[in-house]
Symmetry: C2
Subunit: 269 residues, 2 copies
Amino acid sequence: MRLVFVSQNGSSNEVEQDLEDILQRGGELYHPGFSIDCAIFGFHANQLKVLLLKVKNTGRWALPGGFMLKNEDVETAAARLLKARTGLEHVFLRQFYLFGDLARNDEAFNRQRLRKENIQASAEHWFLQRFLTLGYYALVDFAQAVPRPDYISEDCAWWDLHEVPALMLDHNRILDKALETLRLQLTYQPIGYNLLPEKFTMTELQCLYETILGRKLDRRNFLRRIQSYGILRRLDERRDGVAHKPPYLYRFDLPAYEQALRQGLNGAW
Amino acid sequence: MRLVFVSQNGSSNEVEQDLEDILQRGGELYHPGFSIDCAIFGFHANQLKVLLLKVKNTGRWALPGGFMLKNEDVETAAARLLKARTGLEHVFLRQFYLFGDLARNDEAFNRQRLRKENIQASAEHWFLQRFLTLGYYALVDFAQAVPRPDYISEDCAWWDLHEVPALMLDHNRILDKALETLRLQLTYQPIGYNLLPEKFTMTELQCLYETILGRKLDRRNFLRRIQSYGILRRLDERRDGVAHKPPYLYRFDLPAYEQALRQGLNGAW
DNA sequence: CGGGTATGCGTTATTATGACGCAAAGTATA
DNA sequence: TATACTTTGCGTCATAATAACGCATACCCG
């Protein structure tokens, strides 16, 4: 299932104006030969979703990405891109790998994109150079994120992770590596705060874990383990309207959660 | 303790010739605004060591680093730099973080370096631009690594990790982050193959772990745990000449070791 | 030849983990 | 209204992993 949202005009205080302008002036604005791509994960209907853009003139879907301004921290640039695409700030956002193979560049592909925008470009044009791309992954609250296409894309949508198509360039590899990192992270850090609504059931949290790990977990053992982390608070509230025994609602104990983020959960040594 | 080695002329088949040449032609040769810095770890006398360079005209020590050629994979560039500094190939070498704060750059500092080399440089000179640096860490066999200064340095030496001085630019932070990553890696991957000689005692391996973790471990529990990983083979040989009961020698079971590298040790979930 | 020291091989108590049982509380259906 | 069905909440039990520690041994050294 692909959820399509109505495009919103998000170019209020953005640096980026329109594609033609960017392609012309990018050389002055951006740090050369460097881009950022984000795997933005959300969780909805017990499925892990990833936000993808449909890139103009290519017919391909891709990870949201962009460039870093010459006077901008890498971290700030990634946060700016995330906000531009989802409207969200202060969410979990972490770099995971710099992709720097020669093979990841495809000059012919990019040249064609310029041509379709009717842009004259010499071989030295900034957009035709080799790019290193830094992968970031973000975990966001699906309900609060409002996908918006950017200047380079004609569509923006949440995709079910199992249905992601062949992406532009090496973006499938980037997405795979993001997932792999996320899975590893699960073993030594808490997760969920930015992916679930404020109140949630234990089963929903378990579903999140199962989705990331790609396998089923025992419900009762999961409860015991999560509780041992001491990052959850069970509320006196239950979710009702369900066709069975109403489950308790939980919320994260934010101070404890953030401490666990810093200190790790239960490192082996 | 600082171990100083006699400089060897390692500029045989290197790309890099001399400092002046590099600073002049770097703009043509290298990917712009991007560098690589390596935290090269070795283990000797039951101490974790890191290889540092003394940078010409600055009086400062720094992590070995360099630039990536325009037609070179990032991974290849890192391996090239490592080989140039230690002579070693095919060792454990892994990127861990891209440092991209604006604050990490110090144009005045670099301008002074150029001035001391009597190089005329306009504000657009490639060396004076903002640089992102990708951190790599390497684990090498101390005995086989032969430190060699490069075109940019006047000395090259192993430093005890606890005695590392204030380094150039943000290199202390890079080194700290490398250690932190190494520590984390210890919890889900085997370590030691590239840091210890072929045959070693269990106590030596334990010392390595203790050094990285920064705390003492119980000798008997350590043995049991390491054995459970199934990556060691005990030899019928003992180390003698020691003033106590001669300990067995071990070696890594390479196939099992490499499988553990790929699959992880015993992930929590 | 005895002191000093690190080694090899244990034990024990406690905690963590995996697999599973079962009554309760709701809705859906008959 | 009664029954089926599902998921929940809480629990058990056997086994594995972990932490803390005991002790005789084998070597060098003086």
